[in-house]
């Protein structure tokens, strides 16, 4: 498992040294969410009604920001060839890249969520469930994103293309993520939304690395 950990360690080290993608994702998340009170007005009732949706949509867009670079820099400088030649199966290498993508973009967004929720007047009773749904949902965004990023490797304007490819796939994650947070305010609602979200994660965890690895093998031929 040391090669798996080596990829994550290196990605985190690069993210800290260059400071780019992670800081950008979380700043984008906070600033974009802040635009909504200006756009739809500061009435607390209106904001509280849409807060969970705003947070989920901006978290989703923040995860897309650095997605095209998930494999691009490694592909351009030849590191991807070395990863492909390592004893680590390429599927696991993709999983390591997904995990570091989530650590760099998903986790900071999760950490900033209570602050943004406060600014958007989200009902505090819904916050734990919103955080839980984000904790399950944002890794799914990274996983779907890995397949999109691998498929668009080498395409011109890959950044736009990967968004077009991945956004439709992420709609169910959004629906059930927001649904789970809203259900927290309804005493009669069960955990169905959260369970479906977890099922999406269980579906994406093995399948997305398989698809992404196949696309990477193609790109390296």
């Amino acid at each position: 498992m040391s090669s798996f950990a080596a990829i994550i360690r290196r990605d985190l080290r690069l993210a800290f040294r260059q400071g780019g993608d992670g800081a950008m994702a979380v700043m984008f998340f906070v600033l974009a969410a802040l635009l909504f009170p200006f756009g739809i007005g500061p009435e607390p009732e209106v904001l509280a009604r849409v807060a969970a949706g705003i947070i989920w949509v901006t978290a989703l867009l923040a995860a897309l920001l650095a997605l095209d670079r998930m494999f691009l820099t490694d592909w351009e400088d030849g590191t991807l060839e070395l990863i492909r030649l390592s004893p680590l199966p390429l599927e696991l290498a993709v999983l390591a890249k997904c995990f570091s993508h989530w650590l760099v973009t998903g986790l900071p967004v999760l950490a900033a969520t209570p602050l943004v929720a406060l600014m958007l007047r989200l009902d505090p009773a819904a916050l734990p469930m919103l955080l839980l749904s984000l904790a399950i949902g944002t890794p799914v965004l990274s996983l779907f994103g890995s397949a999109g990023a691998a498929l668009t490797l080498g395409a011109r304007r890959g950044g736009v293309l990967v968004s077009l490819l991945v956004l439709p796939l992420e709609i169910p994650v959004l629906i059930f993520g927001v649904g789970a947070a809203d259900a927290a305010l309804n005493p009669e609602a069960g955990p169905a939304q959260l369970v479906i979200l977890a099922a999406l994660f269980a579906f994406a965890l093995p399948l997305c690395p398989l698809a992404a690895a196949a696309a990477l093998r193609q790109a390296l031929e």
Partner: protein, 227 residues
Amino acid sequence: MPPRTMVANRHGTFSATALGAVRGEKKLFSGLDFRLPPGGALVLTGPNGSGKSSLLRLMAGFGRPVAGHLAWDGADVARDPEAHRLRLHYVGHQDGLKPALTVAETLRFWAALGGVRLADPAAALAPLGLAGLAGTPCRFLSSGQRRRLALSRLSVGAAPLWLLDEPAVGLDAAALGALSRLIRHHRGTGGSIVLSTHQGMELDGIETISLADFPWRRADDPAGLDW
């Protein structure tokens, strides 16, 4: 995952039978045969674009040949790609360096990727004269130093087969000498090597494959351009 040392010293004979490759719609070569015994060296020659890099990439397991097959001790390498990956070192055109990582961190990452724990990066950097640069970020390296760092990978974890794509590009005389010594030592212990160009290097007992003289190549593209 088996540690690299388990398979490291299993030297064998690398061979190809009736190998053929295409790039895009164009035929690069076909009916290519070679046999590389332990300790052997194979040099690929041919004009730019004749398929030297493509052949090396095929040997490394990027993609599959359209015809024929590659074998290690008679067993088709496509049957067990994992074992093949473990027995080779590939140094391609790209150096695989990150500007923000130091020389030692880069080498340590490569070693870990190959399942090798690198206790002392300086020892692996010494053969190619990079020991003094261990703490330098890669963004400050010259192109020759970048190349030497990429080649330092050869000293990390033993592999019986080395595939080097134009290893001499950008190297000065001292580095060329050091690389020749590395290769000599590798071959002396039963390792084999395939490289495209050997300009400036002192190698003996080499065999050559020319990718220049295929009939379709002379017929429609005599200058060897646009390939």
